[in-house]
């Protein structure tokens, strides 16, 4: 049965995530460019956009955290807004109580989101497919209605923050400084997830996504891996929530609404499910389109929908995977 060397198929990496050195350098280049962006914008007298890009990066972090659950853990969760919102409300509530320090409130925001996801995960991870989608949605909506009904914490209007958190010697009221902090958080999260995905834990997660029963049959306690993946994703969403509350100085029930979960899911799908940078690409594309189109017409939702249709048909695995494929084709031609 032995095939001659020439007849063997080329090395295939398969469905496992393996980052190439080339792509790491590319990511570093993009990171440097983003770090320099505030200086460029200030020089061009366009510093208004610093805040806008910071917002995009916060959503990129939230979408990335969801992509870890959906793309690497294989769990299509439709309640990510709960963790995003929990992070925001934790910071806002603590600030109302007089806790201004980010060193206290941000880790707590992460912790609250993680604890919440632990409970929701324990209750919902026994189900899969549509049932998992519905049960995560139900939990998130319960939390949404809870916060809408809590008049003490702003009810419908949300809870506004008197100022941004105090972060040691950094002045977060300065938009550029805040932007750099957001960028650092996103970069750190991406670095962490990259390590996780290549380590034993990430390998197991992806294999569970590929074939859960087989992993159980290889002796892996599948449920524990899925639960931890769910909690890690939620914790990062909590961090994103804490950042967003600081950015807009508001914790709004909108953050908890199911449409927020939907938006994050669309970002992940457009950007690329299971690509490390999928969430980032999706958030950038979606929010840029929203910003550009809403300048032209009030009916920008319609145009956005049409563009998304094109993306889904042209690049069903997401834009990140699509560019990888283009890149690879280009290399083979050389």
């Amino acid at each position: 049965m032995a095939l001659p060397e020439s007849a063997r198929p080329p090395q295939q990496s398969g469905a496992l995530y393996r980052q190439t050195a080339m792509r790491r350098y590319l990511a570093l280049a993009v990171l440097s460019a983003l770090a320099a962006l505030p200086l460029v914008l200030e020089a061009l007298d366009q510093s208004f956009y610093i805040s806008f890009v910071a917002r995009v990066l916060i959503f990129a972090l939230a979408a990335t955290s969801l992509n870890f659950i959906v793309g690497f853990g294989g769990m299509v969760a439709f309640g990510h807004a709960a963790f995003f919102g929990a992070g925001a409300y934790t910071v806002a509530i603590l600030m109302e109580a007089g806790v201004v320090s980010a060193f206290i409130s941000w880790p707590l925001a992460v912790g609250v989101a993680a604890l919440l996801s632990l409970g929701i995960g324990l209750a919902s991870l026994r189900t899969r497919g549509v049932y998992f989608i519905m049960i995560t949605l139900a939990f998130a909506q319960m939390i949404f209605y809870l916060f809408v009904s809590l008049k003490h914490w702003g009810g419908d209007d949300g809870l506004s923050l008197l100022s941004r958190s105090a972060f040691g010697g950094l002045d977060l009221k300065d938009d550029a400084v805040f932007y750099w902090l957001v960028l650092a958080c996103l970069a750190a999260a991406l670095f962490l997830l990259d390590r996780l995905a290549h380590a034993r834990f990430g390998r197991v997660l992806q294999a569970i996504r590929e074939n859960e029963s087989r992993m159980e049959g290889l002796g892996y306690p599948v449920m524990r891996y899925k639960l931890l993946c769910f909690v890690i994703g939620a914790a990062l969403a909590g961090l994103a929530g804490a950042l967003l509350a600081n950015h807009s100085q508001l914790a709004s029930p909108n953050l908890l609404h199911w449409t927020q979960s939907g938006t994050l899911l669309v970002m992940v799908i457009v950007g690329g499910v299971g690509s490390l940078y999928g969430g980032v690409v999706g958030a950038v594309v979606l929010l840029l389109l929203e910003e550009l189109l809403s300048g032209f017409t009030n009916h920008w939702h319609l145009v956005l929908g049409l563009i998304l249709l094109v993306v889904v048909f042209r690049a069903p695995k997401g834009i990140a995977a699509y560019t990888h494929a283009l890149f690879r084709r280009g290399q083979e031609r050389e």
Binding site: R200, G217, L218, Y225
Partner: protein, 255 residues
């Protein structure tokens, strides 16, 4: 013969009103190849499910190495040393053959520790990959390491399935029709592999290929309609008139 590695005592299991298994008791002795035969629908795969932990019996007990494992989950039983292959190929189709086996090797906590490790890349753990290479060679897949499992031929996928089960380091191997859908050459290869495993692993083998069964098995149990008809050496089973009438027919005239 030495003591029983696996003891199944009075196991019953029904689905709806159908009794798939009724009061089945049998032993697998350490080091033996024990074949389980019976007509379609006799409950062979159901019995494998009870032992592997895929399903739990309604009544009865399953003991493995002296410990009651009746209520253990599947992954706990694998860790205890029970591995299985599936009747329908169950591998990671979108992963390379090598990555498939690496996962099986990595899962052996007693050798490598937990997989709750978050920093060091698996690809840098050379010993896992080296061991996976040797398992692939063992089952006859040398040179096919980088091929995606989904692109392997059917027989090769069966071989990979076997490599996955073996790489978990079992003391008991449950093989559910390992030669199903294989050509004669591949079947011979698997028969030789099972012979080659020798007495280091005990095997419970479900198989329809009677030539293979009578060549490999030390003992044979016959399951008919969810009940155990008899257990004995191949000669005893061949001579048993009940088995002849219930199942074997003229197939017993093996060379």
């Amino acid at each position: 013969m030495s003591e029983a590695l696996l003891q199944i005592a009075g196991v019953s299991r029904s689905f709806g009103g159908v009794h798939a298994l009724s009061d089945v008791s049998l032993d697998v002795v350490a080091g033996e190849v024990h074949a389980l035969i019976g007509p379609n629908g006799a409950g062979k795969t159901t019995l494998i499910h009870q032992i592997s932990g895929m399903q739990r019996p309604d009544a009865g007990k399953i003991l493995f190495a002296g410990k009651d494992i009746t209520r253990l989950s599947m992954h706990e039983r694998v860790a205890a040393g029970i591995a299985r292959s599936w009747q329908i190929t169950n591998v990671f189709l979108r992963l390379s053959a090598l990555d498939n086996v690496c996962l099986a090797v990595q899962g052996r906590q007693r050798d490598w520790g937990s997989s709750f490790r978050f920093w060091r890349p698996v690809d840098a753990e050379r010993r896992i990959a080296e061991e996976a290479h040797s398992w692939l060679a063992e089952v006859g897949l040398a040179g096919r390491e980088q091929v995606l499992a989904g692109s392997l031929a059917h027989g090769e996928q069966r071989q990979l399935e076997l490599a996955l089960a073996l790489a978990t380091g079992p003391s008991l191997l449950l093989l559910d029709e390992p030669m199903a859908g294989m050509g004669p050459e591949e079947s011979t290869q698997v028969v030789e592999l099972i012979e080659h495993l020798g007495r280091s692993v005990s095997i419970l083998l479900v198989e329809h290929d009677m030539d293979a069964v009578f060549r490999l098995a030390d003992r044979i149990s016959v399951l008919v309609g969810g009940r155990l008809l008899c257990t004995g050496t191949p000669d005893e089973v061949r001579a048993n008139p009940e088995v002849r009438s219930a199942y074997l027919g003229e197939v017993t005239n093996t060379p």
